[in-house]
């Protein structure tokens, strides 16, 4: 699975849908990533890939302070899954690979 690149992701949260740009990078063999939303870019922690499944954690402060755990499946240029903040209900996550690169 090729995760490297930019992804336009929509997260359906209790305070409305958020549009986030995810960037996954191969940093000398280690997978790193960032999430850029309205007003901030935060790093992704504990990125783990198992077959098509990818999980990570991130802390955001905008539009609200939340600790989030992500769990998505990647198929080609699409990803679907959920994010979860503590004991809150899951928020649906969908994303598409941003085009403009040759892979």
């Amino acid at each position: 699975m090729d995760l490297i690149g930019d992804w336009d992701v929509v997260i359906k949260t209790p305070i409305g849908s958020l549009q986030i740009l995810y960037t996954f990078t191969d940093d000398s063999g280690a997978l790193t990533g960032t999430a850029t939303g309205k007003g901030e870019t935060v790093p992704l922690h504990d990125i783990s890939v198992a077959a098509q499944r990818v999980t990570w954690r991130q802390s955001v402060t905008k539009p609200m302070r939340l600790n989030l755990d992500f769990d998505v499946e990647v198929h080609g240029d699409r990803l679907t899954g959920h994010s979860k903040a503590g004991r809150l209900p899951r928020s649906a996550v969908t994303g598409v690979r941003r085009q403009g690169r040759i892979s």
Binding site: G16, R65, L66
Partner: protein, 241 residues
């Protein structure tokens, strides 16, 4: 004084040693007046505002006006529409985080269910608070050692969503406890949680208890009990400190 003495006389002596710093200071004009600023924002819950407003106003009367109680907003004087049937209350001043005393943040009222992209649900209203001028002003208030910030119902959630309660001990309305925890707050299940310069209350009716607790903290139990008698209301539960 004689803390080990469980006789009724102790109760009196304990009352006598109660420190009344704000009341005493407040008797000197222009030197240490204490303010209770209640922050109105669009969609606020009216009872979250009125319960502490009435309690603090009655307490102010009891201490001969040493406490000035006012409704404020981050935008200055304006009519502010609540989340319950569009009831309007008027903010008479701008929230001033430099004023010593209390800054009290109410919760919001509105729909709980619904698509947040379509409907202004309570979480949407509370999150919006953090995107207004209220957020930086509340950050200043929390940094001011002369200010105790108090919240009722979702007020703590509004501050937590704005990232102002990281690592603090706090409570909110029972429906919001999971969200509060997800913002990095240590959630405490008590009706009133006293975390020093932050006093938070649970759901709507706890605003009475929060305000009575503030009166007791500042002016002693006699003032709080006088207001309880006047209102024919008694606090319940144990305050977490």
């Amino acid at each position: 004084m004689h803390d080990a003495d469980p006789t009724p006389a102790l109760a009196i002596s304990r009352r006598d040693v109660t420190i009344w710093p704000l009341a005493v200071v407040g008797r000197f004009p222009d030197d240490g007046l204490v303010y209770a600023q209640i922050v109105l924002f669009d969609g606020f819950d009216p009872l979250d505002v009125i319960a502490p407003f009435e309690v603090l106003a009655a307490g102010s009367d009891t201490v001969e006006g040493a406490l000035t109680v006012e409704l404020v907003s981050a935008q200055g004087p304006r009519p502010v529409v609540s989340g319950t049937r569009d009831l309007v209350l008027h903010a008479t001043a701008m929230l001033d985080p430099s004023k010593p005393g209390y800054v009290l943040v109410p919760g919001a009222s509105g729909p709980i269910e619904g698509d947040p992209d379509e409907v202004d649900t309570i979480p949407v209203l509370l999150a919006r608070f953090g995107e207004t001028a209220a957020a930086p002003l509340m950050r200043e208030a929390m940094a001011n050692p002369d200010v105790t910030v108090a919240t009722v119902c979702g007020g703590s959630l509004a501050l937590a969503m704005a990232g102002l309660l990281e690592g603090r001990n706090a409570v909110t309305h029972v429906l919001g406890l999971d969200v509060l925890e997800a913002t990095g707050v240590n959630v405490v299940r008590a009706r009133v949680v006293d975390d020093g310069d932050l006093v938070t209350g649970g759901g709507v009716s706890s605003g009475l208890d929060v305000a009575l607790h503030l009166l007791e903290r500042s002016y002693g139990p006699r003032v709080a009990i006088a207001v309880e008698e006047l209102f024919e209301y008694e606090r319940r539960g144990t305050v977490w400190t």
